[in-house]
Amino acid sequence: MKKASLFRVLLLLLASVFLVTAGGQKEGAAKEEKIRIVHFHHTQPPFDEIHLNAAKSFMTKYPNVEVKFLMYADADLPTKVRTALVAGSEIDTFNIGSFQSTWFMENRLVEEIMPSAFGKQTVQEVIDMWEKDAIKKTGGFYEGKYYGLPSEMSNYAAWINIAHMREAGLNPETDIPKTWGDFVDVAKKMTKDEGGVRVRNGFAINLKASVFPFLILHSLMEQKGLDWGTEDGLFASLDTKEVVEALTTFTNWATKDNIFDPGLFDNEREGFGNGLTSTFLTGGAWYWGVLDEYTVPREDVTPFRYPRYKDGKDIGGVVYGYSSFVTKQARNKEWAWKWLDHFLSHPELDIVHGNYQPRKTLDPTLADKYIPNNDVFGYERQHGAIILASTKFNEIQDAVGEAVNRVVFRGISNEESIRILKKEVKSISE
């Protein structure tokens, strides 16, 4: 009797498994008729809706194609993409920042541009659809080959709260800082303490995330004539007095000039938007759209050109971007490129919120129309520092961030910090 019951239970289990797998195969068979493209992207309001609509319009145009648009936090996206690629999961296309893209290109995980998908004969014809050097600046080019297409080209400008300037007796027309010396003087006047507690920073940067101090330092170093665009250039620069001067400029903001207290808040974009800092150096044209989420109104802020050293090079904030790639494991590469062509063919929608896509079809007057102070961003873009291209970017950036933190939090001298940085960078390169 017991054996009979056990037999019946096993039979029922087998039947269920059979039904589930048969149903799955049927569903799979139905899905096989449609071409499926899975795209990974970083989430960034207010652009998320624009991107989802692009997927919908592509599917409307090509009913035989299904686009699954997956969004993740920007900081998590590289890990998500790597994990999906290694596990052989569904990932046909993805969008990634120029800081991270080198690793994917070096490890041959992405396809070279396919001209036929764009109705072109050669790769050069596809490249010519975008502004000159745009693909290089946005991380889609590696060792002579083109792999990615730009979805965004940005550059950092400096930002200042002009309401705070007026409050401090400064004139926004004439007192916008032009040199790093001016920058400190202006920031000092806008810094506020109450009862010995910092309530408003004159300047702020997120020291927890090493990418931000790294990017600012990158510009300072390039202004000093050092080459931080390559690993070799960066390592060679660590033996110069200019590297100490640039690091000292940065660390003095916290240790000597007292315009920056890292204890007030972490995220400088949030802090600036909430009026807790009067300046910051890590905002692109896209920040206009982000600012609208916070309490400080647009009319109270203005971007301005990165300050320069009096005797330094005319180099602004870093130029960086995001590019879209087709993976080596994409099931239908031609359709994947077609999807990217469609996805990247409406730059006029992104520009409304300040996101600049360097496609030649973009009406240049729209940038002036929708990006307040586009003259600042345009000039800085022409004079921006090109970001370091390295597969060890994360490690190097962390080491540089720690070089800053050692001085700010441990009181180590800038010279000693550079000496330790040199040792770390050497170890990373081995």
Binding site: N107, G196, L207, A209, G263, F265
Partner: protein, 292 residues
Amino acid sequence: MKKVGYYNKLQRHGYVFILPTLLFFSIFLIIPMFNAFQLSLFKWNLVGPKIYVGLENFIRLFKNERFWNSYLVTLHFTFLTVIIITFISFWIALALTSKLLRFKNVLQSMIFLPVVLMMVPVAVVWQFMFQTTGLLSVIFVNVFRFNIPWLTSTKITPYAMILVYVWKYTGFYMVMFIAGLLGIPEVYYESATLDGAGFWARLIHITIPQLKNTLILMLVSCIIFTFGTFPLQYVMTEGGPSRSTEVLALLIYKEAFMYIKFGYSAAISVVFFLTLLIFSVIQLRIFKSGTT
């Protein structure tokens, strides 16, 4: 003969019942552990081929100042946290099992409440409280007329981490001690009282010896969990300021997922495992020798 057959049958059924758990642990614990041991002997960037490097990863990490910094930060955090948690949870448990205290159930629930909260939101809230204009700073400035740089001092931030961790987990170990205390027969205390033993004598000669097994369990589990701390440091400081709170688990995460050095990261995790194994064996031997 029939009895032996019946017990054998019971034992077979027992194995069937524990099979799902055994499978689960094998797939998610044992196999990954051996995988990590194997991976520690290779250089691997996740997508390329695994390159056998022998003990090179271990040699590199033992020469690496950052590894030793993380190791010492973790030891410091663990050592102090375990001592503080043991001390506080024991005394709270003692108070809550005392006949003199009222509203014991309410107090017990309040102290246990942080245990059930997820660490990530706890870390976020404490982070706000630690900021320059946060709750703790406001209290210190208004009451004590000075501010503490909770998260911006390499000397103070590690203790801020300990504070949050102790606040969160004291309730858990308090419950362990309560269970242990309630298991001590009342007759021991009655006899001791009749013989004229005071509070401290009863504590030292009855309570603590009777709690030996509970203490072993408490210490071993506390050390293991505390040594492996990760979300607190990841959310609140990301290892800062200046790597003063960069615990081993955080370093393992960074080496694997940010620097894509899986072999090296696996080597650190092997050292992590061996450290805990040595701790646990030493502890068990000390307590075992105490018993004999």
